[in-house]
Symmetry: C2
Subunit: 192 residues, 2 copies
């Protein structure tokens, strides 16, 4: 059952993820989306209430996955370096399993309509704080240098969110390899 036939709804979702990722939410029309799925535009409305509802489902689904993965991975660990490594691995794991959708999550959430936009921003902030906590606790424990925590989190996040490009690049690395190399780089630095 590895390749079970997808339902129309699933196909719409998957195609939307791909198109929104490639050219952006605003640039994709319902007719183009429908054509790619193999149906007519109005038929989409049998499955999703609106274009915004489609984007919403994608964004919030991925948000939930990030939280679950983080909590499951990090819960019991205390040591700063190991803890951060686990968090990074979890984060990259979610991206790897949702390549298109996670790009939409990162870049297209701006098009969410209120009140969902506000709710989404709050979620993003909370997730960012999870990482900031790891850094700050790590500094307190003496595991990390006394860096600017906010800047460190920004650096880590942006590095992680570039993971997408690595998958699309020529030298294909596995999820594990990327997680290992990225966290090593961030923890130990480039200097010999």
């Amino acid at each position: 059952m590895a390749t079970a036939t997808l339902s129309t709804k699933q196909t719409i979702r998957q195609t939307a993820e791909k198109l929104f990722q490639e050219r952006g939410y605003a640039a994709i029309g319902m007719r183009e989306l429908a054509r790619e799925v193999g149906i007519e535009a109005p038929s989409i409305y049998n499955h999703y209430k609106s274009k915004d509802a489609l984007l919403r489902e994608i964004c919030f689904d991925i948000a939930e996955q990030f939280f679950k993965a983080f909590d499951a991975a990090v819960m019991e660990e205390e040591k700063g370096g190991k803890k951060l490594k686990l968090a990074i691995r979890a984060h990259i794991g979610v991206i790897a399993n949702n390549i298109d959708a996670s790009e939409v999550f990162f870049n297209e959430w701006v098009f969410l309509e209120e009140p969902h936009l506000a709710k989404f921003k709050k979620l993003r902030y909370e997730y960012e704080m999870r990482f900031r906590d790891v850094i700050e606790k790590g500094i307190k424990r003496g595991d990390f240098k006394k860096v600017n925590a906010k800047l460190a989190v920004f650096t880590i996040f942006s590095a992680l969110n570039a993971t997408y490009d690595l998958y699309n690049s020529t030298e294909r690395l596995t999820e594990e390899e990327i997680a290992e190399e990225v966290s090593n780089l961030l923890l130990k630095g480039l200097k010999a």
Copy 2:
């Protein structure tokens, strides 16, 4: 002459940078852009041939600035660590001086039309190679660890390109502070 009155063309350019950055090229119409400038949509065409020409000017201008800044900063230095630091400082300098435009450069170039899109991609690749060169030469000289150069460049780039968010954030850091902290983090790592 610090705040000379801007020409209409300059105002259009500046406003476009701001709006394209905030909501994306595809989401901004010529009428909205015009309204923000204080003129009517057709008047824009007295200054720019098309919407695409406007995006094109922004993207290629910034590209040129990145090249110039990199070359000026890095030319004479040989030592890997110092060289990378200078390159990072130069790159961040360009972003700092073109906050909105550089965000457009990073995120909206996908909407460029051929043949300019192809030309732009080539430029981006060349710039990436400049950094990759620094890493690889640094590894050969023994200045850097034997990391995956491609992954390191991706990490560095994405970290640098997040600089924008740091400017918009609450803890306002100066250009110098950001450059210093980011390059330290990337060179020496987080670990105590």
